[in-house]
Subunit: 204 residues, 4 copies
DNA sequence: GATGAATGAGCTTTCATTCAT
DNA sequence: TATGAATGAAAGCTCATTCAT
């Protein structure tokens, strides 16, 4: 033990401890997201997650109660992060410019956070895993559908619901294809096409 | 028990054995599709599949070499069934009428075979399961993209690739939403909207 | 069904049935010996044995009560065959010539029946399998040790027991080496050396 | 529980972990040797080995990758131990005294390590298990045959190869008989006879 | 007698979770 | 807080044995 480390033995402040805990928690969360997204919930093991995060298996259990709790925490965080980005856009009146912005932001999100979306879809597809989650996701989808409807109504759509539905399907479809590994289309080009397309309602 | 079956103690004929095997193989295949679609590949256990099919665990292994082989067989059959339905439509010149027909057929397929599509997407989302499959699915997606492109070119699209991409995204998105349990929108209404919409190119 | 086979429906005589049964029994016995000798008792499966013999699994159970009973039958037959060959030599007074003959006969046996000896040793080495067999083998070893002792006493050995022991060890050792797969020494040459050597007692 | 251990809640040091692992590894290795030697490779179950070692089934897999890897480790260790004992004797010029010593050492080894030799022979007898092992054993047998040949040549044998072969067969035979459970001859007496006998060449 | 589909106990192996240190 | 050895339930898979035909 060096002189220095002896000096450092002075107790860390509560705040320091909390910061360290928070950092480690985030490390685990991010690592687990990657691993879950790659192998699926059942296919990913706590061992793998721990070793990817460079910590011991046991430590994970001091941050999360169980594997299931870890999954929930990941999804909660993911949903929260996304809502944070969009919430200030969603309740305003939406202009075509704002919609463009909104979509651009979404695509940035998607590219930065592909793993989350892959996990999201994988889980959404599996009723038995979905059950663990109750309605974690309702909050994610509903307000954005409403916003789309309002937008198309504002743009003079004769069938704003159909327009919103179409837009939703298009975005889901694009997200899906981006996220599916075997499919590496040129996202930047696609973005342009989609944004242009979604601006105008179909039902005029 | 009939008179005949009491007297007839001779062994089953080859044909009888083959029938039994074919029927049971199909039973296992169908049951396993349901269970995989519900719990995912790793989340579904052979035990569960067997008990759903009303057979003993061991019997599955007399029909399929392994859990992985079972998955592959399910997907092969699924892909084959779908290709069969579409192959006579795909290489013709496509008129709007034929496209309508094609989409209607697809939606019928989808409604009859939701479990397959759920499994398809769930697997496509998980690189580590996907690897087991090599490119089982390439054959499913490629020809149908080409057909779409040809159609929109024929309809005077200035950007047939973009139109095909949009159409693909829309269909994927709809399929996805239909297949995700928590979302039970009125498919019949959606179908009408989609079919109308996809008939005309966006880029004129 | 052909004319001919209809005519042949006349019941077979009891004797014919028994002959067929005996032949099939021997077929199973010989096949099982090979398979047991290659894979060991636990490593050999009834399926493998049946398919090597070209019969259905179930049929084996109409000839032998169980896998264990099959093993016992193999060993009983093997021991019986060997005793048959030697019994007329064993209780006579043994001359050097007869000993030579006896050893030659043994080596012929060994070469014709390597699988039996491999199985014999493999089983003798495993207390837990050996237990199934009670003292099937005592009868095989004892009389031949006595014969050796008598022989060396007759040849003027000062320690006939030691001489018999040596001879026994040498024969076991040779048999063992012949039977172990990875060791393919020139048996014909070895035979000569051994026979010469065993003729004379060591303790004079 | 000591004062110290109550207070000391710091994690085990690397060295402590290594010690635990080494000890447990040896425990598993030794226990498994006994169990394999008793029941054979296929007849011994991991469950049985674990319960004999007083550990949970799963723990074995934290020390060895598989049942097969466990077997290999046992044999590697056994071969290494034996080679260690003999290597300093094997490459010297061998006098009768050294041969006596060598044989005595071998018999001590044999008595201490009967289980290893039983396993060795049982495995050598089963081609299908032997295949797992590649030529683990070549290194064990070859140098010792060469040493024997050199010895008998030095002692004036006219046929040192035949003498070595005989010696080898005798030793194998004795080992075999010692190791076979149902045969409990007086090893000490046998040793004396063998050692005396092997000292002099047969071919003078 | 002959077949092979079917069973289920038991095997090898994995992994979420616990716990002494 | 942090470690990783340890557990045991449950997974995938095998195989001796049974039985309807």
């Amino acid at each position: 033990m060096t002189e220095r480390s002896v000096k450092n033995m002075s107790p860390r402040t509560k705040k320091q401890f909390e910061e360290i805990r928070q950092e480690k928690r985030d490390l685990i969360l991010n690592t687990a997201l990657e691993v879950f997204a790659t192998h699926g919930y059942h296919g990913a093991s706590i061992s793998t997650i721990a070793s990817h995060a460079g910590i011991a298996k046991g430590l994970m259990y001091s941050y999360f109660e169980s594997k299931e709790a870890l999954l929930k925490a990941i999804l909660e965080k993911g949903v929260r992060d996304i809502l944070e980005v969009f919430e200030h856009m969603v309740n305003k009146e939406i202009t075509p410019e704002i919609l463009r912005k909104l979509l651009q932001t979404f695509f940035v999100q998607l590219k930065e956070n592909g793993a989350f979306w892959r996990l999201y879809f994988a889980i959404a597809m599996q009723p038995s895993v979905m059950e663990l989650l109750e309605n974690e996701f309702e909050s994610l989808v509903n307000p954005y559908m409403e916003t789309l409807k309002r937008y198309y109504r504002g743009q003079g759509s004769k069938n704003p619901e159909a327009d919103a539905l179409l837009a939703h399907a298009i975005i889901d479809g694009i997200t899906l294809n981006y996220v599916m590994v075997h499919h590496n289309f040129d996202m930047n080009k696609v973005e342009q096409i989609i944004i242009e397309r979604l601006e105008k309602p179909s039902y005029l």
